[in-house]
Symmetry: C3
Subunit: 308 residues, 3 copies
Amino acid sequence: MELRRKDLLGIADLSPEEITLILDTAASLKEISTRPIKKVPTLRGKTVVTLFYEPSTRTRMSFEIAAKRLSADTVNLTVSASSAVKGETLADTAANLQAMQPDLLIIRHQAAGAPHFLARRLACGVINAGDGMHEHPTQALLDLLTIREAKGRLHGLKVAIVGDIAHSRVARSNIQALTKMGSQVTVTGPATMLPPYLETLGVRVVRTLEEAVAGADVIMMLRIQMERMGQMYFSTLREYSAHFGLAPRHLALAQKDVIIMHPGPINRGVEISPEVADGPYSVILDQVTNGVAVRMAVMLLLLGGERG
Amino acid sequence: MELRRKDLLGIADLSPEEITLILDTAASLKEISTRPIKKVPTLRGKTVVTLFYEPSTRTRMSFEIAAKRLSADTVNLTVSASSAVKGETLADTAANLQAMQPDLLIIRHQAAGAPHFLARRLACGVINAGDGMHEHPTQALLDLLTIREAKGRLHGLKVAIVGDIAHSRVARSNIQALTKMGSQVTVTGPATMLPPYLETLGVRVVRTLEEAVAGADVIMMLRIQMERMGQMYFSTLREYSAHFGLAPRHLALAQKDVIIMHPGPINRGVEISPEVADGPYSVILDQVTNGVAVRMAVMLLLLGGERG
Amino acid sequence: MELRRKDLLGIADLSPEEITLILDTAASLKEISTRPIKKVPTLRGKTVVTLFYEPSTRTRMSFEIAAKRLSADTVNLTVSASSAVKGETLADTAANLQAMQPDLLIIRHQAAGAPHFLARRLACGVINAGDGMHEHPTQALLDLLTIREAKGRLHGLKVAIVGDIAHSRVARSNIQALTKMGSQVTVTGPATMLPPYLETLGVRVVRTLEEAVAGADVIMMLRIQMERMGQMYFSTLREYSAHFGLAPRHLALAQKDVIIMHPGPINRGVEISPEVADGPYSVILDQVTNGVAVRMAVMLLLLGGERG
């Protein structure tokens, strides 16, 4: 089976079969990164451009390493917000990139829908590496791979997602991915951080962290965006942490083999205590490792190369 | 025939035969970027360094892609104006780069003559990627390739160049390249943007856009440098656009098969209307595609590799 | 013989035999950078990450070129001081990088000991590219290679190191490396720039530049950190230069075949006069060339590849 798509724009577009294909491919590609020569010639001669309108060394690096392990050439463009404002339109930037005949454009942009806008206009493949508060599909896919590795399945799992659900593209993509694959998602967070449409997505909303993690197979903590908290910084942060920060005592409420996830970077002592982040239930670094594998899989499947 | 040069510093140095050689080579290399594996081993093991003292993601990226499609290794150095002021001299920077034994140094610098200064001191090849208001030779060469593709020739064409002629290295390099190849160049723009020496270059100067484009085979619009307009920003811009912005009504004055060019990035609605920029006569994106091919050709000819 | 280490953190850890091994390996690798195809496949499929918390285009570039000439893949991360303050801890950043399975992490950090901290936590190799005022081992190794090339030996040489000894990691690493290899080191500089512990390192301390260079086989000038001089800038600088700036007249006091070294970038007319920096005794650019070779050697020895 093949992924018959030009682009990966969001989880919303993907069927469960496509998700499974990506996860299976990623699982088979993981072994490459453990070889002495961690490189296959699959995408030799392909040009992969990263176009990041928000700074993110980590996600950019994960894509870059993934591309290089498949032997693609990579070119990085980081566009600062200020220069983007003065400069040409996104459509013109994209048309110009396209004219240099890349094979894949990996875009992160502060505007929801920017990757979709480009994908319609460009002949090359487009991967959404995060668009505003909308989607971050490779993050959800790497989370699914990590869960499947730990649990052996995705169907019937109880997954708690905790934090600023309303503003998180990670939450949004994961909710869609997990419900498509048959997991049961419960979310919690401060009332101001819970959007109204959640029930329509088949998600259970609860008021406390304790309720959310009760019986959970998976606890997924979201990153608190410090810059969003503004004036109220310290008091709000302390209060947030008291109510929604994951601490060792919460783990006793969950399944015995619960796994703890976080998309990173971690604010230690805010949304997650160091004991939990570094403890035996944490799979946070497995998520990072799986990020490279999932991005290799997506690039390979979009460009239709042979596996190495 | 070979290009018996170490450096490409400006159009001023090039003979018509050399220009034709570069264009022919670029035309033959274009096909590489359309292959499934868009890469030839020609410059494998060569080190190409980009040294940009002015930010330019687009030109830098065009060179980087060109180098990678020839299998060269690329290293990017971007020097901010502030750190350059505090730091070592250009000669010292260049001597240090040279000591790392690169094969080609691609430099953009705000000072006219900086690439020439370096080329005299360095054993490696130097390509001028734009020096102050002086020259931008690969831009002129990609423009010539684009014109030649559309018209089948360069000799005897009527080319209008419109805008801030005085401060434009694109205009300066193109005027020399076009007149060397036998085109007839007409320029126009606000009086303050027309330098006094133009007639000595064999260029016709006219006062209005209408005169300039009358009977033109090619209309080349220059980018307005917003940052140069300072205080007078809005009123000047509106006035500029009214008098020298290219709109659909101007095309009727030109040849029926006129082509519209712009070095990018475009200020839509200022020097060119969206209808014209995106219209059927526009070859703006062909220019970008040809930029990669011309830069591949120049690198290959300077380094004397075999064609792949 | 092999370098049985995972990391290169400082000269303090190295035995004279290990230093000799690195220098011999670097000497044999120098030839690669003079070939038409300056690349060997030795580290193909290895991932080398540069993580720089202080800006340094030059050192970063030297490592990047070294890695590419050994066919490794390189990924560059530059972390600005401001974002590092807001962001995750160094340990978390490193753990995340590690999870992407790089083979080598090359780190520059403003905190002494940062590379050692990471090396204990990470499975991949760590190279210290400068940590605060502590060590800069590859700089000392390239200096030793340069001296050995010029003098044929390291044992029994008289080496003068001049400048801000107290705040210089270059001085610190070189003092250890030179004394380990049997050179006799004399240092001088303003009293406020001489740390108290110098005699315990087996170094002779003198008060004047004239005393320091008398009979010297090697004079190593340190860079004055302009930003450290603050308010007193101009008067201090003029005074510094009058007392400790190396001028042609000093060379007559040294050995006839003295060599002049500087880690760069040079402040011309401050710590060294242009006549000396560009004169026949200067080996400053040889240092830069040897920097690539030494970094190739260290990467190759740490990763245990076969020589090309």
